[in-house]
Symmetry: C2
Subunit: 254 residues, 2 copies
C-alpha cells in the first residue's frame, strides 16, 4: 500500500461541497471515481477541510491509499484525464509516509475571501466573488477583525450544523485589505487558524461587511463575539467568494 | 439627443463576439436590447473594438445616442438590470460630446493575453486562459516579441477575414512577463497599438508560445514577420486567454 498526497484545485460551484453526499455531486466522489478508473481500486479520499457547496479551493490537500504499483506522476496525469469535464484538477501528487494524514496531520488552514465592492453585476468573476454594492471601509473592517484574533468561544460564528466538540478556536490571522482585481475594486480577507468551525469564515466575513458598510461598529463586533449566541450573528456571507488556499503540515514553512 | 459613453465588462464565452451577428448572440445585441428596454428607443451601439467569439473585455468603450431625457447613472443601473443574466456589465456611463465616437475617436487599444503554463487542466480559470503544458521561457518570448514592435506589414499575423484596408500597423508595446495567478504559473502578454488587424494579437501570441517552447528561435519570429504571408504563421492562440483591457482617447492619460 502506498499513500499519495494530492493537491486539489476546484471550482466549488457545481458541487454539494467537498465531502461525499447522498443527494448530489461532491469533489470527494469525483476524485474517488477517477482514482478507481485508473487503479481499479475503490479508495476513500481524506481531505484537510470540508468545504461547503460553492466554496472553491486553490490548494486543498488530500490523501488516498493505493495497492497497485503506480508512480505519482502517472497517477496525477491519469486522474486529471478521468476528472474531465469536472472542474477539479490535481496540481501536485507525491508519495507520503503511511502515518501522514491529510486531515489529522494538518496543523494550519488558510482561507481567502474575495468581495467585489462595486455596483455593477459580476461578469467574469460571477460565482467567484461576493458582490457588495455599498462602499466598504476596509480599514474599519481590518480594525474590527483584530477583536476576533486569538483564542475565543466562536459560538456566534458557528453553523447550527457544526459537528466540532468545542466552540473554542484560536484564530491566528484575520486581515482585510483592498486590492485591484478583474472584478473591479476588491476587498480581500485572509483568515488563518489551526482549524475552523463550520461556517466560521463566512460568518466572520458577513459581520465584517456590516462594519465596512458602517452598519456595525467595532464594538458591535466585540459584543457579537462575547454574546456566544448564534442569534447575535449579523450576516453570513455567501460561499461564492470563499477559497481554501493552504493546508500546512509539520515541517512545512508557515 | 444625448451621446452616452459606456464602459463594458464582459465574459466573451457565450457570445459570437462583440458585433451583432445573424447567427447567434452578441454583446452588441444584448446591450442594444437592454438600452431599448429602458428608453423605448431602438439604438445602435458603436464600440472601440470588435472582439471575437470567446474574447473577454475588462473595459471596452462604446457609445449610444438617446433622445429620452435620462441621466447617466439611471441609464447604467437600468441597463445593468436588463442585461441579467447575460455576463455583461456597464461599469461606467457618462455624457460625452456629440462628436465623440467610441471607435473613430479611439487613439489607443490595449489587450492582455493570459497563458496558464501548467500540466493540470484548468478549473476556476477555464475559458479564461489558454492552457499550455510545455514549460515556457518567458524571457525568450519577450525578447522575440521586440522584433514585432514598431511599424510593420503584419500580413502574417492577419486573419483571412480581416477587413482593414492596409496590413501596416504600428505596434507600440508587446511585453511578456511571468506572474503568479490563480491558474498557477501564468505568462501574461501585454499588447498596445492605435489599432490591430483581425486576429493579430492571437496570431502574435501563438508564435510567441512557439518561441517559449523552444520550437521557434527569435530569428524564426523575425522571418515570419518579414515573409508577409499568412502561411508563415506558426500558430493562432485560442480566444479564451484574450482580454480587451483599455481604449484610450485624445486628452486621456496613456
Amino acid at each position: 500500500m502506498t499513500r499519495f498526497a494530492l493537491t486539489l484545485e476546484f471550482d466549488g460551484g457545481p458541487f454539494m461541497g467537498l465531502q461525499r453526499q447522498d443527494h448530489g455531486p461532491s469533489v470527494q466522489q469525483s476524485v474517488e471515481e477517477a482514482v478507481e478508473a485508473i487503479t481499479g481500486e475503490a479508495v476513500r479520499m481524506h481531505a484537510a477541510g470540508r468545504t461547503d457547496t460553492g466554496v472553491h479551493a486553490l490548494a486543498m490537500r488530500a490523501h488516498v491509499d493505493i495497492e497497485k504499483d503506480i508512480d505519482a506522476f502517472r497517477l496525477m496525469e491519469g486522474v486529471n484525464a478521468k476528472l474531465r469535464p469536472d472542474p477539479i484538477a490535481v496540481t501536485a501528487c507525491e508519495v507520503v509516509p503511511d502515518d501522514w494524514h491529510a486531515r489529522f496531520s494538518c496543523v494550519g488552514r488558510a482561507y481567502v475571501y474575495r468581495i467585489a465592492n462595486r455596483r455593477a453585476p459580476l461578469t467574469l468573476e460571477r460565482g467567484r466573488m461576493w458582490q457588495v454594492a455599498a462602499p466598504l471601509d476596509a480599514a474599519a473592517m481590518h480594525s474590527a477583525a483584530q477583536h476576533l484574533v486569538g483564542c475565543h468561544d466562536f459560538t456566534t460564528f458557528r453553523s447550527a450544523h457544526c459537528q466540532a466538540q468545542s466552540p473554542l478556536k484560536t484564530l491566528d490571522r484575520l486581515d482585510v485589505e483592498r486590492a485591484e482585481g478583474t472584478g473591479g475594486s476588491e476587498v480581500r480577507i485572509h483568515a488563518e487558524a489551526r482549524s475552523f468551525l463550520h461556517h466560521q469564515v463566512r460568518s466572520m466575513v458577513g459581520c465584517l461587511a456590516l462594519v465596512g458598510m458602517g452598519r456595525w461598529s467595532e464594538d458591535d463586533m466585540r459584543q457579537a463575539l462575547e454574546a456566544c449566541d448564534r442569534q447575535a450573528l449579523g450576516l453570513n456571507a455567501p460561499p461564492d467568494g470563499l477559497y481554501f488556499v493552504k493546508a500546512r503540515y509539520e515541517g512545512e514553512a508557515p
